[in-house]
Amino acid sequence: MDGLTSWWDFVSNRGDQVLTTVLETLTYVVTVTVAAGAVAITLGVVTRHRPFARDLSLAIASVFLTIPSLALFTIFIPLVGLGFAPSFIALFLYAILPILRNTTTGLAAVEPSVLESARGMGLTPTQVLLKVQLPLAWPVILAGVRVSALLTVGISAIATLVAGGGVGDFIKSGLARLPLPNSLESIWTGVILSLALALTIDIVLRGLGRLTARQPTRTV
């Protein structure tokens, strides 16, 4: 009980910092998810009839995810300096794989007979993509987007180490001052803010999925 009240004191005295870091993390999530989504969905669409190119891009995206995050955040510093830029690049590279994988899986799962009949009725390749393939693959693609967004919330805590800000600031400063007063409270603040953000984003994206899905949900 003591811990909880002292944590609450800690947070309520730092309202401004909480707001700033939450907004910083949120900026990462939005920009990274949008950028990675645009690149990965385009890549998945372009390579949908080219198995070799598709497998190659999936392999490259997988390689990114195997690089330790601490390393990936730091190797871009010589190129772009400290702060937002190296963090954004690292998070972007991580976020590609889940969306790309789900885009290729979703597009490949469209029944050949559906494509055959679409073509047979005179839909152009672009119309087939926009009216048939993407709408059918959309729920799967959106699931990939959600994974990437959550991944970004978690990994963006590292950004603080390259002066990129975000809720990771609380974790870093707490860690640096351990075991001084308020150090544990600081770490907990970072963790709880991360969790709360992840939960909120998950709920929002699930809602978006329900709104945009045109699959029949009712049963006969």
């Binding site: 029944e111 007979s113 559906v114 699959q215």
Partner: protein, 384 residues
């Protein structure tokens, strides 16, 4: 009737890296309003041939002529919007309602909204589905038979003159398939579309086709003619083998009860003089007589035993389980005879009045006539 609806002229299709062409120098013309069935063993190139017509597969050589116009090089998407296409797996769009599925081609052709909505209801009614019930449903809520009905409705969406059907009823259970075939033939009798229909099932070919093209490897035409001619006079051994041993039985589906001479049998009317009846029965040699009521409607079978029994005749006789009408096929007649307790099948007219009986002898007589390439082949018994 002067110009063919579709014409393939010396069309070939060779796939890269395959020496033997899938379709080899095929020339074929489809007349307006007919159902031309392409039938042959698997791998003979019949589906490839069908897909050459709407250029789902581009020909390596040759010309495709559609309503007198060379369409070998026009925009294939525009061509396909003028040709209905039905495939075995249907391929309805699972994320769109039945109405939206049917609206696909009209929307591509930018029909006004009101006209599209009207067309959707019209087509659903045409294929026997209540628009109120099915319009807003999704394909996952349909049975296989219903899905293919919607598939046909969708293919008819923009009222094309031509339908290409690739084994449309192939994945459907036999009972539903039979019903869909009948419904489709009934539809076709009013729509008069030009239809190219692919199947591997010779029975389906005989039933559906105005003309049948039997194809062998490389989409070579082994024989192209009316079904009754092919059944009676197979061009060669390949065709004969493909038809199988039941050619005569198959040909029974092409002929109607009205085509054969009915046996009048002995007809008994109340009040029956039992002694005279017994004599007449013995003289006829058929063993059974038909008891009819005052309106000339058959009541029951009467044999010697029922005449000798003391009870009322109508009760002593044997029940007539099936009655045929002149429009029924001879195959129906055969199965009615096999079910009948007397071995004969009663034929009545539309109002139920007795016309005569189908007997094994009358059927056999007719079949022998067919086997001799006889005159009975000249008139087709199929309804238009």
């Amino acid at each position: 009737m002067t110009t063919a609806q579709i014409e393939l002229r010396h069309v070939s299709k060779t796939y890269e890296g395959v020496e033997e062409p899938a379709v080899k120098d095929l020339s074929l013309s489809v007349e307006p309003g007919e159902i031309l069935v392409l039938v042959g063993p698997s791998g003979c190139g019949k589906s490839t041939t069908l897909r050459l017509i709407n250029r789902m597969i581009e020909p390596s050589e040759g010309t495709i002529v559609y309503e007198g116009e060379d369409v070998t090089t026009v925009d294939p998407n525009k061509l396909r919007r003028r040709i209905g296409y039905v495939i075995q797996q249907v391929g309805l769009f699972p994320h769109r309602t039945i109405a939206e599925n049917i609206a696909t081609v009209p929307e591509l052709l930018k029909w006004p909204k009101a006209k599209v909505a009207e067309r959707i209801d019209e087509l659903l009614e045409l294929v026997g589905m209540d628009p109120e019930v099915y319009r807003d449903r999704y394909p996952s809520e349909l049975s296989g038979g219903q899905a293919q009905r919607v598939g046909v409705a969708r293919a008819l969406g923009a009222d094309p003159d031509v339908l290409l059907m690739d084994e449309p009823f192939g994945a459907i259970d036999p009972i539903t398939r039979d019903r869909l075939q009948n419904e489709f033939l009934r539809l076709q009798s009013t729509l008069r579309k030009t239809i190219v229909f692919v199947t591997h099932d010779i029975d389906e070919a005989v039933k559906m086709g105005d003309r049948i093209a039997i194809l062998r490897e490389g989409s070579q035409i082994a024989q192209l003619d009316k079904p009754e001619v092919i059944l009676a006079e197979p061009a060669d051994e390949f065709v004969e083998n493909f038809l199988g041993s039941g050619a005569i039985l198959k040909s029974l589906t092409l002929k109607r009860v009205r085509d054969i001479d009915l046996d009048p049998l002995v007809v008994l009317r109340d009040p029956v003089h039992r002694g005279q009846a017994l004599t007449a029965l013995a003289e006829s040699g058929s063993g059974y007589a038909v008891l009819v009521d005052r309106d000339n409607r058959p009541v029951c079978w009467i044999n010697e035993r029922s005449l000798n029994s003391s009870s009322e005749l109508a009760k002593a006789g044997r029940e007539i389980s099936v009655q045929l009408q002149p429009e029924d096929t001879l195959q129906d007649a055969l199965s009615a005879m096999l079910q009948s307790s007397s071995g004969h099948a009663v034929v009545v007219d539309g109002t139920g009045r007795y016309q005569g009986c189908c007997t094994i002898e009358s059927l056999a007589h007719f079949v022998v006539g067919m086997g001799n390439g006889g005159t009975s082949l000249e008139t087709t018994g199929r309804s238009a």
